[in-house]
Amino acid sequence: MSSRAVSKTIAVIIAVIVIIAIAAAAMVMMPPAPSPTPPPPPTSPITTPTSPTTPKTTPISPTPTEKIPSEIRIGVAIQLSGAQVVEGSASFMGIKCAVQWINDRGGVNFKGVKVPLKLIYYDCESKRDYAVKLVEKLITEDKVDIVIHPYASTVIMATAPITEKYKMFSVQFGGSSDALYQQGFKYMVSTHGFAILHYWSTPFTMIKEADPTAKKVAIVFKDDEWGRSLGESARTKAKNFGFEIVYDRAYPPDITDATPMLREIAALNPDILCVGSHYKDGYLIATQLRDLRINIKWVIAQVAVAKPEFGDGLGKWAVGFIGETTWEPECKWEIIAAREGKEYYGPTSDELVEYYYKLGGKGRPSAYTGYGAIAVLVAAKCIEVAQSLDSDKLIEAAKTLDFYCVKSRFKVDPENPAKQIGSINPVVQWQRGEGDKLVYAVIYPFEFATSKPIPMPKWEEKEGWPELKP
């Protein structure tokens, strides 16, 4: 190619780049278009209006010009496949159950009229970049009124800036990384407890009571935002509870072999092993503890243990593992709400379980069902209090709320609504029940605990057991 032709080509390329840059800058600086009455969405909603009931509300004066919509559109981009399919699907089931529960009672009380909720959702395939695109699509194309973020802190950290950009009121139910409330998000509320604020407190409390001789703690955590928050939380809480930290390491998110790490831990002979994990890595560590026959009295593995799949996969080997959860069918927060004189809003755990099976749920509903349910309940409660779909009014309403529901207490920091401060994590443990059954027991709070905590039986003892079935 001649030098003249090369120069021309370069000039054309530069011109194209400049034009694209100008167009992009113009789009960013332009204010978002006001949302008109939306057309029907592409996905099937869940709406079954039946006879209404009147929940407790404290309405704020409605905006006179704000029309009563025919439906309130809740947009969700959620992990229905991929690495986080287990958590995402279970959470989505909770979302559907709560939507159905509200719609069966006529809908949300909006200016004296019951307005049903309409769910618009997409599968983000556990891909962060795709989730970001879907959230933007929900806001700009589907014109939803409220967004519920996907599961997992790493994904929410990517989708929250999108909802903030559009000043869209949003609810995050599945992110526990403390980084989420440190970003200055103004329009996002959190329903989930945070790693540094909430996690490890209840298991440590319980171990302190059950085994005062337990002194040495080993901490391992996944090297991502969630895992690092859990690691920091475990470190802080262990010191606060007077434990000695003998091991404190991160492992790669895509870990396939934890044996070098576990062998090092075994040599230190800790009393407690804290595993800050998601499901896949937590399960890997549990199986490799078994394979290496490493006996540790108390093993707390976040996320992994609090899933039915953990017991289904490991069977008798799962006995003794402790996890923190956020909701179980045994949780009866209405008892604690009544005792504290606070409002209880939404379905009880028994009702949520009923809806779970009615909507096709199989097996025991996992904690994520509660995760998803509270997101919808909080959104609905905010609308009822604000009597508006305006994001500024919704966020102000959220700051005033302090109530119990299926997933413990909802209360946010009025200065920072992305910071959930009321949440309480129940603690669970897999145990050997009567008749050689594998039992998933709630061991804290004691008000509705189904069993007492037990130290992890030795692997050699479990070897002699028959196979336990749930």
């Binding site: 090297d223 062998r263 499901y279 078994r290």
Partner: protein
């Protein structure tokens, strides 16, 4: 300390043998036809899925599913060779096979996702452990190692005691001279690719034993990087180099977390991949042909 060193060595050798076997196919294909097979990751994954479905549908454990994996891998390898590879092998653009195998890999991964979803699956096969006073090793790991040794012996037998193996070695050495000597180069290339594919499938089936829930359409990429490191360190084009490289990497992955753990402020497990590639660069600088590669 002795117990820890012993455990590390044993686990390192076992996992190294699996890595080596998983890489032998990549090395063989490079050796025979100078093609970097980016589909290797997906062939490993398909081998893992073969083991999974054999477990779920007919109750075969991963070791017992090796013959099935080998057969499937061989057939798919023949198919890929004749449909894609052979048509591009003599293309004037030397990168066309690279791009084609990369594209095929992506297509296979997405096809797996469509067929089986991106859900994580596993084979919960456990047979207990062999326990010594200071050390225990899962029985499944022992079976895996024995299987690796047997397969390596079979591959050795094929390469050094059969006409087909002789023709593969001849083509690796000099395809032009092999043709002059009457070797059917095209058939040799096809069978070489198919054998490489079969080895990848077998490697995938064995990797399943270490991954309780890790089978998914994209799992192969975790191992593809390892395979490239192993192939280069061991000697590109030399199947035994893959074994040597695999043992090096297997031991490195077990030893480095312990050694790196002594450095303050360092996360040893997270640094192990960095160390692997650092070793790769050093080997390339000192011995560009690898440990068992052909000296020029």
């Amino acid at each position: 300390m002795f117990e820890l060193v012993f455990q590390v060595l044993v686990y390192g050798v076992i996992i190294g043998a699996v890595y080596g076997l998983a890489t032998m196919g990549l090395n063989l294909i490079w050796g025979v036809m100078r093609v970097v097979n980016f589909t290797h990751a997906e062939l490993l994954t398909l081998g893992a899925y073969t083991a999974y479905w054999a477990w779920v549908l007919i109750g075969l454990n991963p070791i017992a599913s090796i013959p099935l994996s080998a057969l499937l891998g061989f057939v798919i390898g023949i198919f890929i060779f004749y449909i894609i590879i052979y048509r591009l092998l003599f293309s004037p653009d030397i990168h066309s096979t690279l791009v084609a195998t990369f594209a095929l890999g992506v297509a296979l991964a997405e096809l797996m996702k469509v067929l089986w979803t991106a859900d994580y699956r596993g084979v919960p096969w456990a047979l207990g452990v062999i326990k010594f006073s200071w050390f225990s090793i899962p029985i499944t790991y022992v079976f895996t190692f024995i299987s690796c040794i047997l397969i390596i012996i079979i591959v050795y037998f094929i390469l050094y005691r059969t006409y087909f193996g002789k023709s593969i070695r001849a083509v690796i050495w000099d395809s032009g001279a092999a043709a002059i000597c009457g070797v059917n180069v095209k058939a040799t290339l096809a069978l070489g690719f198919a054998l490489g594919s079969a080895l990848a499938f077998i490697g995938g089936s064995l990797i399943v034993i270490y991954l309780p829930t890790g089978i998914n359409p994209y799992m192969g990429h975790l191992y593809l990087l390892r395979c490239f490191v192993i192939a280069v360190v061991g000697g590109l084009g030399n199947p035994w180099g893959a074994l040597a490289g695999g043992l090096v990497l297997g031991l490195l992955e077990q030893v480095s977390p312990i050694v790196l753990g002594y450095i303050p402020g360092v996360e040893p497990l997270s640094l192990t991949p960095f160390l692997s590639f650092l070793i790769l660069i050093i080997v390339l600088l000192i011995m560009p042909e690898g440990i068992l590669g052909r000296r020029r």
